[in-house]
């Protein structure tokens, strides 16, 4: 009976567990996995083959591989053999021309394309267009360069055939380096981040962005909540709705409105011009104004959130307490500081911790407004991770590096949450009744 009820319970929670696993746990697990690879657009996320490219050869040369080996690997030769003839036939070279090549050049080798081309030009039924001659040379090229080998063993064989006298470990190292798929690189991504000079810049940007926006959120939220609390009811309702607008407006539309507001010939621009103040694109034209823009853009969204929570908490304070403090002689300011604010500790903690975490991982508004500019002066960690993993303008999306950056963000978020919970003795706050009658 007991087992049956247990199983029944499990059956009931299993959809929730499955969803939890799929949508909460898996992303973190996958991010962690990706973070320790060098996955990118060029490696793909499935697997790869072995190719030696010109770039790779240059890297090998730089890495200290013997110049002769590098030269040998980069050399291509053109040779007329039964295999190359068959390849040419398959590539669609004209059969009569091919027959002439077979009869007159069979068994010969040419050092470079030029000499092979001139030999071909000597043949009677050569194509009239130079381009076709060039195309016809290609199948005869015997080179390891840019040739795909599906396995590492095949690559090693090919290298060995090109440079028979190369040491085995060099061959194996080159074959290893020629792999195009993704690889486990342990902490390579993190090491790269540590070594990059711009990392510290981005970290400082992020800290500044979060701290400044958070301060704006909490203080403006508190200010609005308290002022509307003391306003007559009808006015307060109007102001509450007004301050909610940034939150209600779709993000993209909200960003566009800020563009109109701050861009060249925008609202601020025109006003500043009229007043004889410096008028320029405030959003992207200077570092201080760019910071001001993104802090305000995010700040107003968060301030309305804080305001709603704080207003609710304010209304939960029994009005008699406020009356009592007034007859006890407390001025408005003393009432706010000594009676109201201490009782808003819990919502302030909540807004602070919640907003810290959401600001740490938010980049949409920055992306839509300054996009991290001018230069990368307003680039924050989340935006950089997004750009690295999903929005790289060079076209090579570095999933592995992006995941590593995201993982760091997750770790920082976790540590901060634990700190907040400890610092504000969260459980105590939640367990005890906050308001006494």
């Amino acid at each position: 009976m007991r087992t049956r009820t247990c199983l029944l319970g499990l059956a009931f929670v299993s959809p929730a567990l499955a969803l939890l696993f799929a949508f909460f746990l898996m992303p973190v697990v996958l991010t962690t996995v990706f973070a320790f690879t060098n996955m990118s657009t060029s490696t793909g996320i499935t697997g790869g083959s072995h190719v030696i490219t010109g770039n790779l050869l240059r890297d090998l040369g730089n890495a200290g591989v013997d110049d002769d080996i590098v030269a040998a690997l980069s050399e291509g030769s053109f040779s007329v053999t039964p295999e190359t003839l068959a390849a040419a036939a398959e590539a669609g070279v004209e059969p009569r021309f091919l027959g002439e090549i077979e009869s007159s050049l069979m068994g010969q080798s040419f050092e470079d394309a030029r000499s092979f081309e001139s030999a071909l030009k000597a043949l009677p039924s050569r194509p009239t267009r130079i381009r076709d001659i060039k195309l016809a040379t290609e199948p005869f090229e015997r080179s390891i360069l840019n040739t795909r080998y599906s396995s590492r063993a095949a690559m090693e064989t090919a290298i060995a055939s090109m440079v028979p006298d190369a040491p085995v470990d060099t061959v194996s190292a080159i074959a290893e380096a020629s792999y195009t798929g993704w690889r486990w690189i342990d902490g390579g991504n993190f090491q790269t981040l540590l070594d990059r000079p711009e990392t510290i810049r981005i970290v400082l940007n992020t800290v500044f962005y979060v701290a400044a926006t958070l301060a704006f959120n909490v203080f403006v939220g508190l200010f609005l909540a308290i002022t509307t609390f003391y306003l007559p009811k009808t006015g307060a309702g109007f102001f509450s709705v007004l301050w909610l607008l940034p939150r209600i407006t779709p993000v993209v539309l909200y960003a566009v409105m800020w563009k109109w507001f701050t861009w060249d010939n925008g609202f601020l621009y025109v006003i500043a011009e009229q007043l004889g103040l410096p008028a320029f694109n405030y959003m992207k034209g200077s570092v201080p104004t760019a910071w001001a823009t993104i802090i305000l853009v995010n700040g107003f969204v968060g301030a309305s959130f804080g305001m709603i929570l704080f207003s609710g908490a304010l209304r939960a304070i029994p009005v008699q307490q406020l009356w009592a403090s007034e007859v006890d002689g407390a001025s408005r300011w003393q009432q706010i500081r000594r009676i109201i604010l201490p009782q808003l500790r819990w919502p302030i903690l909540f807004v602070t911790s919640y907003q810290t975490l959401s600001l740490l991982s938010s980049y949409e508004q920055i992306w839509l407004t300054t996009n991290g500019g001018p230069g990368s002066t307003t680039t924050v960690w989340a935006l950089e991770a997004f750009n690295t993993a999903l929005n790289n303008y060079t076209g090579n999306l570095e999933y592995g590096m992006g995941a590593a950056m995201a993982l760091i963000l997750v770790a920082v978020g976790l540590i901060l949450s634990i700190l907040y919970l400890r610092m504000f003795r969260f459980d105590e706050l939640v367990n005890k009744p906050r308001i006494e009658f």
Binding site: W323, V327, R338, F437
Partner: protein
Amino acid sequence: MQVTLKNFTKTFDDTTVIDSMNLAVNDGEMLALLGPSGCGKSTTLFAICGIHRINGGQILFGDRDVSDVPSQKRNVGVVFQNYALYPHLTVFENIAFPLSVRGDSKPDIEREVRAIAALTHIEELLARRPAQLSGGQQQRVALARALVRKPDVLLLDEPLANLDAKLRLEMRSEIRRIQLETGITAILVTHDQVEAMSMCDRIAIMNKGEILQIATPTDMYRAPVNKFVAGFLGNPPIVMLEGRTSGDGRFLVKEGTSLPLPARLAGMPGDTPLSLGVRPEHFGAAGANRVEGTISFVEPQGRETLFDVTLDDGVVLRSIQPARDDVVFGQKVVWPLDAEKLLAFDVSGRAV
């Protein structure tokens, strides 16, 4: 400090709650504002302490007109019904609050708080928070906070309503003791006639925003100015009989029974419509007149027993007597009625 209200008027939006009320509370006196809920007694209290702005008239503390003085500067102590203690502060900090917002020095605050805590018997609770106190203890803390800065007036808004019956009794005498010891002028708002009568020097009874009578509890009980006051005071309540005078010193209840009138009303012309009030203690104890009826309800209350006696024509009189079990339900009784103590009211409800 004497507190005087002159033509005090209070309106909320378009509703006039209190229209030109006059009231004088003597120095060192404890006065009850007694009335049913919605009668304006709390409104009056909040106007005196400045939480509500008055719409007309004057409020004087002694000779000082405080009508336009904000509550912070009135120097009043208020105990609210729900005590309104600050939940995030300790008992000490709660009591110290009025002093510390005034900017008193640390040692002064310490001394004053200790003194008032001793007066209210809460010395051992100073380190606790309000959530860790019982209702009675919270009440004492609220009282201490209201008294700590030696206010001119102490205002108590239904201070006992949130306590259980036993604590209510205890706090009733405690509040009175503290008021007498400090000699402070106090105003108690309550809807409970027992509280008002037991704690206060005088009672101002209110209904619909009007003070009907101001008198000592005994005087008010004995000689209520009108039917409302007579009905509001007394537990178990007075029985009102509607009828007419006979012209020969008797009173004819509508249903037919004839009861004697007190001697002072014997000369009233006949056929005058009257209401006759019979308090339960004036029936069944002593008196020259005999009334016969059947016991229709018995309610033992321990020390006393309450009886309903139905007369032949259906009129019900109530009687309270020292506990007795020799009378049972359905029994015929002939009990005395003390005619001289009966209360009579004319058609408009005024006492005659």
